[in-house]
Amino acid sequence: MIATIRSEWIKLRTVRSHLVLVIFAVAFPWLVTLLTVSLIKDTDLANDTLVRVLVNSARVSSILLGVVAVLGICGEFTYHTIRPTFAATPNRTRVLLAKMVVSALGAAVVMAVIIGAGYVAGRLIVDSRVDQLGHFGDTNGLIAGMMGFTVLYVIAAVAIGALLRNQGATIALLIVWPLIAEPLLGGLLHLVKAKGLVNFLPFNAGFRMIEHVGDGTFGRWGSTAVFAGFAALMTALAIVVVGRRDA
């Protein structure tokens, strides 16, 4: 398994377009956060503004890291490198899991850098403007939620990419599903008095991992369980389908 992970790691970092996307993923939340905490009025600087802005803008980074994961798996089918890949490692489950490990770990490290370095730089600006801001709010929960969401989103991206084998379709699905389909479906469920089912919409649950969750919902851990279950289901499906079909 270690050899396969090493191989997949080399693949992921030796394509320039992947690196460009990672740079965008890092730069975007930094830019938004630093501009926000620099330009906002002192009186609007609430105690958790910095972390909130950082985590909210890092949602785009999660999606970009998911796109990198999709390019990693779907590129194999687009350029038919899946054939030499499976020739070198006939155990297809091992290949899929190695891709998920590499993409998820890579995404977690990048997200840690985004949040860690973004927080330090933002805090320097905040401290220079306000004498005493007080303690930040539920920052640990938000940061942990962001890391968890990113990892699960990337795993789901690899699994769905393996199922669809098409970059465009997978990326579209990973954007349309959470941002358009689920909100519409959620609204419909509210209308038909089936509000409880909204908690089981996977990306809705994923987004709750990076929000303050009010009463009457699954809470952060429950939402994490739903989104993790979705990622696990997609992974299991991908393993079965990829194992059966022709490369």
Binding site: I10, K11, H80, T81, R83, P84, A88, D246, A247
Partner: protein, 348 residues
């Protein structure tokens, strides 16, 4: 040693490979031939599990490919030189392959040198010509120093020098004791490098034999007869059942009679001969004769100018079918060739 047994692969209602069995011996180059769509590539993909066969087995030195922990050290397979990410460099392509099988990194530089890509190893593959990609593909095949090598159309896109190079590499690999299976449409190349042939048509085995035996069995055989006044001899040969194709006033190609028989007949008739030489068709002739009946999309036998008309209404005449040797008069006629096919250039 590769042993393929009862390999079957279906795509929906279409059977691409049907109950196919053959062996690939170590120490020789085995050419894998068949018309377009005959199932060569599918067979090779099934052999290493890339396509899931519906039945049958393939053993590499007695083992299934899926059981190899480091398969690149056992079997090197190249299916298409295009199976490379265009945004990756050649060196990085070989790096991930090597890493997957725990191969030493120094082997990459050795092979880049062997295939002549050292100076461009850090360029993205998108800038490579097809020939350069073929060389990179071959480097990937040899990365693990495998004892079995399988290549699908390796000479595609190569210039004459490259074709010669790959032929020499494959022959050398075979002489080192490896099992080498090569599919190719370039029959002249196969004739130069292959010792054995596996010929398939519509997914079924047509023939497995040494090249010489295959040519002997399927290619046209004739005797060139040249003399100042051979008409009497030709008449006698025709009367004996031979086919005499007159080339000009002094020469003819005789099928259905051995050179010795013709010589004796000439002596009996006191006909002077200037030439009496047996000829055998090329591997291409033999291949075309062997696979004629199995071709799905054949244009052979279609006279120029009739293609458009035939695309609307098929010809009513039954296409000539290559008859097995047992169907021919013993020691007499070769397998019949399509009547309107140009007379192939033969080899003495």
């Amino acid at each position: 040693m590769i042993e393929v047994r009862q390999l079957t692969k279906r795509f929906g209602a279409t059977t691409a490979v049907a109950d196919l069995s053959f062996d690939v011996r170590p120490g020789v180059v085995t050419g894998f031939l068949g018309p377009n769509g005959s199932g060569k590539s599918t067979t090779m993909r099934c052999m290493i599990g890339l396509d899931r066969p519906d039945g049958g087995t393939t053993r590499f030195d007695g083992r299934d490919y899926a059981t190899f922990e480091r398969p690149l050290t056992e079997v090197g397979a190249l299916f298409d030189a295009g199976y490379v990410h265009p945004g990756r460099t050649a060196r990085n392509h070989l790096r991930w392959l090597a890493a997957a099988n725990r191969l030493e990194a120094k082997r990459i530089d050795e092979l880049l040198d062997v295939v002549g890509l050292s100076t461009v190893a850090n360029r993205q593959v998108r800038t490579y010509s097809l020939g350069m990609r073929q060389r990179l593909g071959l480097a990937g095949v040899l990365l693990g120093d495998p004892h079995t090598v399988m290549l699908d159309e390796p000479a595609n896109g190569l210039d004459p020098e490259g074709i010669r190079w790959i032929r020499e590499v494959l022959v050398r690999l075979a002489r080192e004791g490896r099992s080498v299976l090569v599919s190719s449409h370039q029959l002249a190349e196969v004739a130069l490098m292959a010792d054995d042939l596996v010929v398939i048509g519509q997914g079924r085995l047509v023939e497995q034999a040494p090249v010489s035996a295959f040519v002997d069995r399927y290619a046209d055989h004739w005797v060139r007869v040249v003399g100042p006044q051979p008409e009497a001899l030709f008449e006698a040969l025709r009367a004996g059942g031979a086919t005499v194709d007159v080339v000009d006033r002094s020469s003819a190609d005789v099928r259905g009679a051995e050179a010795a028989e013709i010589g004796e007949a000439a002596a009996r008739l006191q006909v002077t001969l200037h030439e009496l030489s047996p000829h055998t068709g090329s591997l291409e002739d033999a291949y075309l004769a062997a696979t004629y009946a199995t071709e799905q999309f054949s244009t052979r036998g279609m006279p120029t100018g009739q293609a458009i008309a035939w695309s609307q209404a098929p010809p009513t005449a039954e296409p000539p079918v290559a008859a097995p040797p047992s169907a021919s008069p013993p020691g007499w006629l070769p397998p019949p060739l399509p009547a309107d096919r140009p007379d192939p250039g033969g080899q003495p």
